[in-house]
Structure formats: structure tokens, C-alpha cells
Symmetry: C2
Subunit: 190 residues, 2 copies
């Protein structure tokens, strides 16, 4: 998606350790006009698919998911992050490793809000090694729900999480896939 790629080129900065900082428009300050254009593009990419719900993960997925949901006319559920896995029969839970934060955390979704009848589109701001997305897919499997696919704003193609999920048959649509990045350049996948 050209608009998003241009925004990354103009306003994103590459930091040490493979960090792409896009806090000016994506995950701290949020450009709602851009999110709306992203929503239109996801609607085009998932055209004809039946979708009953959008599932995302706190915190920075929530804003994108809510704006995108207007284009599909469905509710949004966000997975909550918790430090520990205390027992709660009413929640689906999955453990996720965060490479950015160097620790494991647990994501939870109430069983009330995802069921086997649901056809779910996953939405998130970033996809790198794919651990958060795998956690969300795990929750859909526990619920017996259908994973229609995932809509991602920025994928770090060089970290392979997206391609591994595509090889397993998941429909992963990323609006900008960064193949290579250094302090002074960013290369996008065609």
C-alpha cells in the first residue's frame, strides 16, 4: 500500500536491534485518516470473505482494528495481556514470547466473545516473528472458530514469521513488507 510505504519512508526511523520506529502515526500517535485508508485496503484484500468478528491484541492493535471494523461492520475483540497464567475457566489463554521485551506473557480472551460459529479476521500493527499472531490463532483454535486471515500494517519480512504462516496456509495480508532496513534505507517487498 503506497500511502503507508510513503509514510514509513518519510516519518519512520530505523533504530539499533531491528527496531522500526513509527510512533508518529501508528502505535503511539495514531493517524486516523491513514487507518481509514488501511481499512479500505483490507476490505478490498478480504473481499467476498465472510467475517463475523475482528480479533486484535492490546494495546497498539486496538486503534487500527476499530477503524478497520467499520469497513466490515463487525465488532472488535481485543486479547488482554497479563503477566501470569492464573486459572480462569471463562477465558481462552495462550502464552506468547515477546522478543522486543525479552519475556513471555499470556494473552486472554473471554469465552463469551469468540465461538465456533465465528469467522475471524485478525488485525495487528506489526508482524515480525509472528508469535503474537500464533497466540491469537491458538485462541481461535481453542474456540473452534475459523481464522479467515490476518491483516497487518507492517511486516518485517526478514524475520520470516509471516512467510512461515503463509506456508501453513494462512491468508496473511500485510500492507507494507520491509525486506531490508538500515539507518539510511528501507527496502519494501514488491
Amino acid at each position: 500500500m503506497e500511502l503507508l510505504q510513503n509514510k514509513i519512508m518519510q516519518e519512520g526511523t530505523v533504530k539499533a536491534g531491528g527496531v522500526l520506529k513509527v510512533d508518529g502515526f501508528l502505535n503511539h500517535q495514531m493517524d486516523i485518516h491513514l487507518f481509514n485508508e488501511m481499512g479500505k485496503e483490507f476490505k478490498r484484500l478480504f473481499e467476498g470473505k465472510e467475517i463475523t468478528k475482528i480479533l486484535t491484541i492490546e494495546a497498539s492493535g486496538i486503534g487500527i482494528a476499530c477503524i478497520v471494523a467499520q469497513h466490515f461492520n463487525v465488532p472488535v475483540v481485543f486479547a488482554k495481556k497479563a503477566e501470569s497464567k492464573n486459572l480462569d475457566g471463562d477465558m481462552y489463554m495462550s502464552e506468547v514470547h515477546s522478543y522486543t521485551k525479552g519475556k513471555d506473557y499470556v494473552i486472554r480472551v473471554s469465552k463469551k466473545f469468540i465461538g465456533k460459529e465465528d469467522k475471524v479476521l485478525l488485525i495487528d500493527d506489526f508482524l515480525a516473528k509472528g508469535k503474537a499472531l500464533i497466540g491469537l490463532i491458538d485462541i481461535l483454535e481453542q474456540a473452534g472458530a475459523t481464522c479467515v486471515g490476518a491483516g497487518i500494517a507492517i511486516e518485517k519480512g526478514f524475520q520470516k514469521g509471516g512467510d512461515e504462516l503463509r506456508e501453513k496456509g494462512y491468508n496473511i495480508q500485510s500492507l507494507a513488507i520491509v525486506e531490508e532496513m538500515e539507518e539510511n534505507y528501507i527496502v519494501f517487498r514488491k
Copy 2:
């Protein structure tokens, strides 16, 4: 706001310890149609005020803030929550006490995204004792920005945080103010 009050009456449940559970439409599963109607109502309530930015707090404020922002045509910034107050010159920080979680946490906002020229509308899902809102106002004061007011979905009127801020001159607009609640009834302020 009648639509929100009806939704609370129909789908909200009152739990022990003064907890009003509205996770079916507000802060776990999110009803985007309802958020849009809330956006229209905030637009009406803050009609004629100049607003350059919306500030909210992760996680459950983000969805509402993004949908509401479409009615004001401004970007959203969300304050991030952190466990500790490590030094970072680039961030405004404020300490907030959470009665729900029984602990203090720090909220942060990058100095890049709020400046003295900004006229900021605060948005959040809940207002009880007002500690989160006071933290956000503190950040606006640090930035020298103007607080235009706060738009809240549900205020617990009996916990007084909203009225204390109104007495100090802040324009606090809550779409539903719960005056009293027990397991089998909820009374709203007129």
C-alpha cells in the same frame, strides 16, 4: 445518552466491590456502531471548541478515542502504562494509582506528540475516582497544552472523581453517570 444507558441496563452486570462489567460492548468486545454514536454525541457536547488532538490511555480508551477522533478530524495519542518510572527525557510522565488493581503505575507520553500549541480533548471509557484523568491532565500541564475537556463513556458518580474535577473548572462530559448500583438495579444521574 439514552443508547449507552440502555445498553448498560441490558448488558451490563454489577459485581462485588463496585465493579460494573460492560465487557460485552465497551472494554473487551467493542461495539463500533455504539462508539460512533458516542463520537457524534461528544461532537455535539464540545461543539464550537477548538480541538487539535485527542489524548487517551491504554488499553480500553484507545478504541473509543479512535472512533471519536473521526468526528473531530484530529490524531489520537495514547498514554502508555509502565511499571516503573525509569528516566527518559523525551517523555512526559505521571504516576497514577489504580484502585481496581491496587497499585501505582506510570503513564508516559512522548514529548514529540503534545506541545504547548495543542488544545486537547481527553477521552476514556471509565471515570471513577479520577486518578487516570488527573494523570493525563498533569501531562498536559507539563506540556503547556490546553485541556479543552474530557469525554467519558461511563462515570461512576458515587465515586466523586468527576464532580471534583468539575469543581476545579474542568469540562467533564460523561455519557452515562451511574449514581447508584446494586446487583439488581442501576440508577443514572439525570
